[in-house]
Amino acid sequence: MTLLTVDGVWKRYGDHDVLKGVDLTVDSHEVVCLIGASGSGKSTLLRCVNLLETVDDGAILLDGADITDVRADPDDVRKRIGIVFQAYNLFPHMTVLDNITLAPRKVHGVGRAQAEEQARELLTRFGLESKARDYPDRLSGGQQQRVAIIRAIATQPRLLLLDEVTSALDPTLVNEVLGVIRELKESGMTMILATHEMGFARDIADTVCFLADGVLLERGHPDQIFGSPQHPRTREFLSRT
């Protein structure tokens, strides 16, 4: 079943076109990896899906409803989509527990006790139960990013966007974050990842999309994209990584 449809999305900053008519469909429980050089438009596409950027043309449909409609309520859309950023963006003045329970309590109206219980369950599941009362700056990068992922899924979103979530981490910490994402896939979460981890993309993705200069040049099963890329630019990009 199709969850998300990106239809001819165009995004321009000044006179630079970042996305030039991108089409993409994502099914429920599908994991899509966006690969491509820095500046190819991966992050911008994710920010457009989450309405952090407004599209300059085209449309994005979630559950069949046009979320880029100017009459749509962006807050309502964001309640159903989670996003995790490269730089974690945890709230530094709140404990780990408060970071996670803020949206369930204030946006979804869950009571504090219930929200905290759910948060503690998630923390335990991802090995962070001892960090509940800590502030983010006491945690390692990998721990912060795992908290950020938990914060994003605490509201049980229909779709999770991950924007180069391991790019700021040193190699030993990358694996603990990738482990979390792998577990989310097993639990059936629909995800779009922008990533530079090619090995991980090949391993986890149902579909890999290669972007270059704002154009989705090639999409397919990871074995096909990494095994026998069709487009010359895909071949060139993969040979360099």
């Binding site: 989450n50 952090l52 962006p74 807050d75 309502d76 964001r78 309640k79 989509i81 989670g82 996003i83 950023f85 730089a87 963006n89 945890l90 709230f91 530094p92 003045h93 803020l102 949206a103 204030k106 946006v107 979804h108 700056d137 914060r151 994003a152 509201t155």
Partner: protein, 282 residues
């Protein structure tokens, strides 16, 4: 297995040298302070007009005669300050938040807030106290206060709110946009984002400059004297005129300093603590 730490001879030698350096620093500071203070005092006492100055500005008898009234007056300054400060805080934050509203519906409100901060930061406090203190009663409107203390306090609030609003606004602007993006992407509305994410971080950052403004507000409460109420400066004026002696002014000044200095030290303490926290964060 952990190995117990036994201080090496090298470390013992290092600590001995550090202690010696510390002793030298303290004695250097003491000696230079004594020399500077001695020079200042000597300069004062040796100046040809000192006997006159001592009689006019530092007269014990004049101090004893005027201090009770000045102290009573100073209580009024403290009351003005204590009433004005919380109101300035709330209104200042409100104006800053209004200036941050993005919806077109709020354009008039936003423009009004910008106009207010521009105009009232430009008017000297003394002038504003005159304008409010003498202008408002002249309107002869029903229900408008005519007590000079109330009017003077209102003038102080109007002036200081415009400064404090800008302090809050700079604090709000200093919170990185990614924090707002993170909050909005969790589904929080603009209002919730400000309430739970942006303002708490902004307020922490602007505490030192806010306390600075409050030290200033505290002493500017003396300007309400222009309207006539018997606060510290006014009492000092009366006594000075009676006795042809300026000691009451010095007494009033010392009272203000006694209140401002602890606040200033507290500001420094907070700033130092914030710096330590930033330095300690990874």
């Amino acid at each position: 297995m952990t190995t117990a730490w036994v201080k090496s001879d090298r470390q013992k030698e290092r600590e001995k040298l550090l202690r010696a350096q510390g002793r030298r620093s303290v004695s250097a500071a003491t000696i230079s302070t004594i020399v500077v203070a001695g020079l200042v005092v000597f300069g004062l006492l040796a100046s040809p007009g000192w006997p006159r100055v001592r009689e006019t500005f530092f007269s014990w008898d004049a101090l004893v005669a005027s201090l009770p009234d000045i102290l009573r007056g100073f209580l009024l300054n403290v009351v003005i300050f204590l009433v004005a400060e919380p109101i300035v805080l709330v209104l200042g934050l409100g104006v800053a938040l209004v200036r941050g509203l993005r919806s077109p519906v709020f354009f008039p409100l936003r423009a009004l807030a910008a106009l207010y901060t521009d105009v009232f930061r430009g008017i000297p406090v003394v002038l504003l106290i005159y304008l409010v203190g003498f202008g408002v009663p002249a309107l002869q409107l029903q229900g408008v206060p005519s007590d000079p203390v109330v009017l003077g306090t209102i003038a102080l609030i109007l002036s200081y709110t415009s400064f404090v609003a800008e302090v809050f606004r700079s604090g709000i602007d200093s919170v990185h946009p990614s924090q707002k993006a993170a909050a909005r992407s969790l589904g929080l509305s603009h209002g919730q984002t400000m309430r739970y994410v942006v303002v708490p971080q902004a307020v922490r950052r602007v505490v030192p400059p806010l306390l600075n403004d409050f030290a200033s507000l505290q002493k500017d409460s003396a300007l309400v004297a222009m309207l006539g109420p018997l606060e510290a400066l006014r009492q000092a004026q009366i006594h000075a005129a009676e006795m042809f002696n300026y000691t009451p002014y010095v007494a009033a000044a010392l009272l203000f300093v006694a209140l401002t200095v602890p606040l200033a030290r507290f500001t420094d303490h907070l700033a130092a603590r914030a710096a330590r926290q930033r330095g300690g964060a990874t």
